[in-house]
Symmetry: C2
Subunit: 245 residues, 2 copies
DNA sequence: AGGCGCTTGTGAAGAGGTGCACAAATCGCG
DNA sequence: CGCGATTTGTGCACCTCTTCACAAGCGCCT
């Protein structure tokens, strides 16, 4: 119930694609499922029920089933999901079957750590190039890669066929870097700089701001402190967060 | 500074606190508004319209107004919002009027960068203690702080009145660390380890997984590639993402 | 003083996501 | 071979969040 993409003649739309137009919330959870599935595969599990996988991924089992149903029917009723098959499907949908090359701009405090983070490589991403605007940093070698000057971005990006750009510069430099990335054809950007990037339509930007995460926690901490200050009443009723047990 | 709220008084009871039970989506955006407001204040602006602030924060102006309206009416029709006043209000709601102490566990690649990240201090958080389980790392000094063994967590946490724990350990160690943090009374955790933490009710966990962000971008990249591969038709219609100009 | 333009605050409609509950499907076993 | 146990896939109701559109409010200018 999912194959009818376009009966026309897309000549080349043969095997993989399908492009099921997934809900954004589902897309955001698929990587988590994928991680849980890899963990299950490593411990020898061949199949897993929606309940089991949902637990491992920290979500509701009905939500998980609905998410997976958007990719097609890859489960067996009464049995569960084939771990290996499901991994293949999710990786295919996420476009992880090819190794994607990442360019990292800004090799300061955070960028340095990102350049050395092995969680990228282990999940199919290759950091292909490092850049910085500071001449004193250019030439430094990190994890087997030499830092180049950001002016070389255009040339190197083509050579290495970069598909994702990561910005780890200070905020004032981020927009200029983003513009350069867009100019060389990068259409996906992960931004660690605490600022809003403006990019043309068709370019995806995801932002990670570490301080914001702390501030959100601070709010909840603040709220909890206020509630427990109340003697009785509605203190206990509305605290339900992360999965318990 | 935690005033109670009357269970049955819909009007505005006290002055500052109110605890307006903000929507979660609003809470997540307030820090972004705060950052934009600080930038405006630094450039000499005394007031700002919802349109202006919304632009600076990268959101829709109606959404911004609704978000702010949840805190109360701090704008002036025909004029806009007083930047300084709004900063104070948001900081108050987020519980940033007091400096919160953070314990960072795991001083590996990423933890090292977090320990040196000045974006925390500049936004009201104090990294009060560093921990690691690796004896060879204990004693190392980072940014003026000495790394202690994780077994000292209980004692130090009380001494430094830690209110937020940050986990930057490898995944296998994360759950044990979380348990220890919870045991010493920490009720807010920021988890960088790629795994699901299980914590008792009343403890908030936020997760940041750098690889997941890349995988989400990978999906969109994959989707865009498939769409442009199709000759005609639905290629142009459904690409709308980050703010454009 | 009065009108005019600008901006906020909000009601209402719509879109999207969540979780329940159950029918349909599959396997294992007697 | 049929039955019961198990688990998926999904219709539906609920809920949160988003967005539009506009009345109410405010300051400024004449």
């Amino acid at each position: 119930m999912s194959q009818h993409r376009h009966p026309g003649a897309p000549g080349r739309a043969g095997a993989v694609p399908a492009l099921p137009d997934l809900p954004e919330a589902t897309v955001a959870r698929l990587p988590e499922y994928l991680r849980a599935l890899h963990a299950l595969a490593d411990t020898g599990h061949e199949t897993v029920s929606s309940e089991g996988l949902a637990n491992a991924a920290g979500v509701n089992s009905a939500k998980l089933r609905k998410d997976l149903s958007h990719l097609g029917s890859y489960g067996t009723r009464g049995v569960g999901y084939d771990v290996t098959l499901l991994i293949e499907q999710i990786e295919s949908v996420l476009g992880l079957t090819q190794c994607r090359s990442v360019a990292l701009v800004g090799v300061g405090n955070l960028g340095h750590a990102l350049a050395g983070y092995d969680g990228f490589a282990s999940r199919g991403f290759r950091i292909a190039a490092l850049f910085d605007a500071d001449p004193s940093r250019v030439g430094e070698e990190i994890n087997g890669l030499v830092v180049r000057h950001v002016d070389e971005l255009a040339r190197v990006a083509v050579e290495e066929s970069i598909s994702i750009g990561v910005i780890a510069t200070p905020a004032p430099a981020a927009q200029a870097v983003a513009d350069q990335l867009v100019a060389v054809g990068v259409t996906s950007i992960l931004n660690f700089a605490p600022c809003v990037l403006s990019v043309p339509e068709g370019v995806d930007v995801r932002k990670v701001d570490l301080a914001i995460e702390l501030q959100i926690l601070s709010f909840h901490e603040h709220r909890k402190a206020s509630l427990t200050a109340l003697p009785g009443g509605l203190a206990a009723t509305d605290t339900q967060e992360a999965i318990g047990t």
